[in-house]
Symmetry: C2
Subunit: 189 residues, 2 copies
């Protein structure tokens, strides 16, 4: 339940996030969100021109949460950068596992056609942290390319792993060996 003291806009987003986490992707229809927020189905239109715009706003909350998780890992204390990357990967996979609906929503292609600016920029912020860590862990390699390939690997592990396709590779639910393999591969040379 969202706190009652806020504008309807924020309440709709909060209800959407909650509903998405609790009941899954197919429940977050415009009308259902409005219903749970206690308003009529036309009300959201004051703040979001379309259903997709509301979904995009909900997805941004996901990026924000993800950034909150892995942001601190960019801090430049003395910790081993490679271990940091491992931790980032674990956080990424854990987020995808515990927030499946949100994770799916965050990378829905159709959400971005109308919302090029917001969502893509949010994801770039996350990507920036990855680049920083790669720069420190493997200074001799082109950081952005390696970080890109690494992110792709991470994302693929999350996507395919929680789908069940990779169980034949790992013979277990645990994706950590794959994560380790991917990170080691990209940092080795």
């Amino acid at each position: 339940m969202p706190e009652p003291e806020s504008g309807l806009r924020d309440r709709l987003v909060a209800v959407g996030v909650d509903l998405l986490a609790r009941e899954g992707t197919q429940k977050i229809s415009l009308r259902e969100i409005a219903r749970r927020a206690g308003v009529s189905h036309g009300a959201p239109r004051r703040y979001f021109p379309t259903h997709q715009a509301l979904l995009a706003a909900i997805a941004r909350e996901g990026y924000s949460e993800l950034g909150r998780r892995i942001g601190p890992l960019a801090a430049d204390d003395g910790a081993d950068p490679r271990e940091r990357l491992h931790e980032l990967g674990r956080q990424y996979l854990d987020f995808a596992r515990t927030h499946r609906g949100m994770f799916e929503l965050m990378f829905r292609h159709d959400l971005l056609r109308g919302n090029q600016i917001g969502l893509r920029q949010d994801s770039l912020e996350v990507f920036g942290i990855l680049v920083q860590l790669v720069e420190r862990a493997a200074p001799q390699r082109p950081a952005t390319v390696v970080a890109g390939a690494l992110w792709a690997g991470l994302h693929g592990i999350a996507q395919l792993g929680h789908w069940g396709s990779l169980q034949v590779a790992t013979h277990t639910e645990d994706l950590d060996p794959l994560l380790r393999t991917a990170i080691d591969a990209h940092l080795e040379n």
Copy 2:
């Protein structure tokens, strides 16, 4: 237009594939497919208990097409297995680029809950080819794990790359450098 001499079942699938390629993901509703096949909206129900079942059948055509593309690469003539892997990667990315709707459909999570057997097995067939090539290219490493990580990387590049998120890493539409980085990383050591 599909050939007229076939059962309705096959025609529905063919129309769906065509419609998906031509007009995108949101156009392949049950009723629209039925309309384009020239039958009433209730007809598909004779062959597919639900809309998702029809979509799953359409997705299987995608796996079949993908297998047709990369299947020949498993042939054991004298070609360099690493170059073979490159070619496989290019085919994978090209397929994802030229069949975006289909690619998206093939990995939709909600399609698999009701169709655990079919779709997942199709994807495993593709995975098997990858494992064979990895075995030949890097015999000293655990093939299934490396192949899994590699597939994840490939898939992530396709997913994120065609989304635009990775343009900051490559500064171009060309995903080949990323592909090369990923393959080299996983085979090196």
